[in-house]
Symmetry: C2
Subunit: 281 residues, 2 copies
């Protein structure tokens, strides 16, 4: 799939990506004034699509962007897979902005139609679950509404780049001594035999794979708790892992250069990965 020839969706129309005429007045370009989702398809079937569209609707409501009709994006997503011949594993990217209007901070008044964009993306995992990935910890510079899946991703970009340059695949963001989440993933630790992850708050995204992971723990009697992971507890963790639409369940085998546990994917993470794989089939 090349970047420009693929069929995308833009404001009601399917067209080749290079035909999209995004306005430089778009508030996504000028102000990061919008939200997005990444949905995964397995064997041509979109996974947890309703949950993704519900979160998109929640984000639009939080930002008071109207007129996008997120429910319609279910059919758009399926149609994009069909038109691009993507019967296997793929991602669908969805983005809605407050639309194009002369530049000023306040919402356009009267409102303008939102910009609705959707495009297929290849699955580029950040690693292999069989061997795991390395991660670093870094200061969380983000704003305090990380529960909104907004386009204001510059701090995530910078932290992720820092990880890459350190030879790692993800950066775990630490705020006030708490290891919250990755730049594009949720973060879990196994400490004293309990699977731990930060509770939902304005400091983390309510990740769909995070919720599924907790549900798998409950269903299969794996001890789990939504309780903040203190940075100082990380050295006591026997296992660490990431969770997300793209990485699924991904063991972290090195953190800040030091091995996690035995330096290989641990038993709890491997079990959750198997349960996750069974769930998506």
């Amino acid at each position: 799939m090349t970047t420009d020839a693929e069929i995308v969706y833009f404001n009601g129309t399917y067209l080749a990506k290079h035909e999209v005429r995004l306005s430089p007045d778009d508030r996504g370009f000028l102000f990061a004034d919008g939200v997005y989702e990444v949905v995964r398809s397995y064997g041509g079937t979109l996974f947890a699509l309703d949950e993704h569209l519900r979160r998109l609707a929640d984000g639009l409501a939080a930002l008071r962007i109207t007129g996008a009709e997120p429910a319609k994006l279910a059919n758009v997503s399926r149609e994009l897979l069909r038109r691009n011949g993507l019967g296997g594993d793929a991602l669908v990217y969805l983005q809605v902005t407050r639309g194009a209007a002369p530049r000023r901070h306040a919402f356009p008044d009267p409102a303008v139609p939102p910009t609705v964009y959707a495009a297929p993306m290849p699955v580029r995992s950040r690693g292999d679950a069989a061997t795991g990935v390395a991660a670093i910890t870094t200061a969380d510079l983000r704003w305090t509404r990380c529960d909104i899946k907004s386009l204001a991703l510059l701090p995530n970009v910078l932290a992720h780049q820092q990880a890459i340059e350190a030879g790692a695949q993800e950066a775990i963001l630490v705020r006030d001594g708490v290891a919250l989440e990755g730049t594009a993933t949720s973060f879990f630790a196994v400490i004293d035999g309990v699977v731990r992850t930060a509770p939902c708050s304005n400091y983390i995204l309510p990740s769909i794979t995070r919720g599924l992971t907790l549900e798998l723990c409950r269903t299969h009697d794996i001890p789990a708790a939504e309780r903040p992971i203190l940075q100082q507890e990380l050295r006591d963790a026997t296992e660490l892992f990431l969770a997300g639409t793209t990485v699924e369940i991904m063991p972290v085998i090195r953190l800040d250069g030091a091995p996690v546990g035995r330096g290989t994917p641990g038993p709890v993470t491997r079990r959750l990965h198997q349960l996750f794989k069974a769930r998506i089939c």
Copy 2:
């Protein structure tokens, strides 16, 4: 000047705005991965252009975006005024992003050419210096690198909209009990006869008009100090004002619904406004 017919600059070419073909893969659209400037022209002459371009270069360096050659934007800015017949007062908007590349958080490797966009904008002041404006205070939700003039402006958008809906023209952002700056302006208070504004740090933008205001104070023996303005000190302020490229020096006569001082522009603000106007002539 209509929105679509005006001549803009896009990646080396002058063209009508509606002819711009911004890619939906642009990292400005996807990640807020870029910086911007707004430069003002008075009577066709761009004011403090070198300072704006230096700050743009600083922002590009902070984000490690290369290849944009900000110095060339001096001529681009002048050419935009000329081609659009803007011999009077106007604004020139400049934006540089990390360019268009398949979506992933890390910097494209190898790097792609940056997107360089410039466009004229009409001067839309947030008020009249003769009568002043109203402002509100609100929690600063932004990230912790506010010294970078980045595109991640969603928190600024939301705070400014909150001000508008409260019948005010600007929102003063308060973090940890300190009144830092507006959503698109610097913030000053006159307390015990001293002009005060937050010291430069990662929590505020190093505003060019802020610097000029402090310089005018020094030159004209107006007592001034770069010292944090505590929220609890705001009630003791005899005058408040905003400073910025668009608002210039703008008295704040009401804060959170209550009059500031006598509820009219105060003598120190009026004097600084006069000195500012004399400086730009």
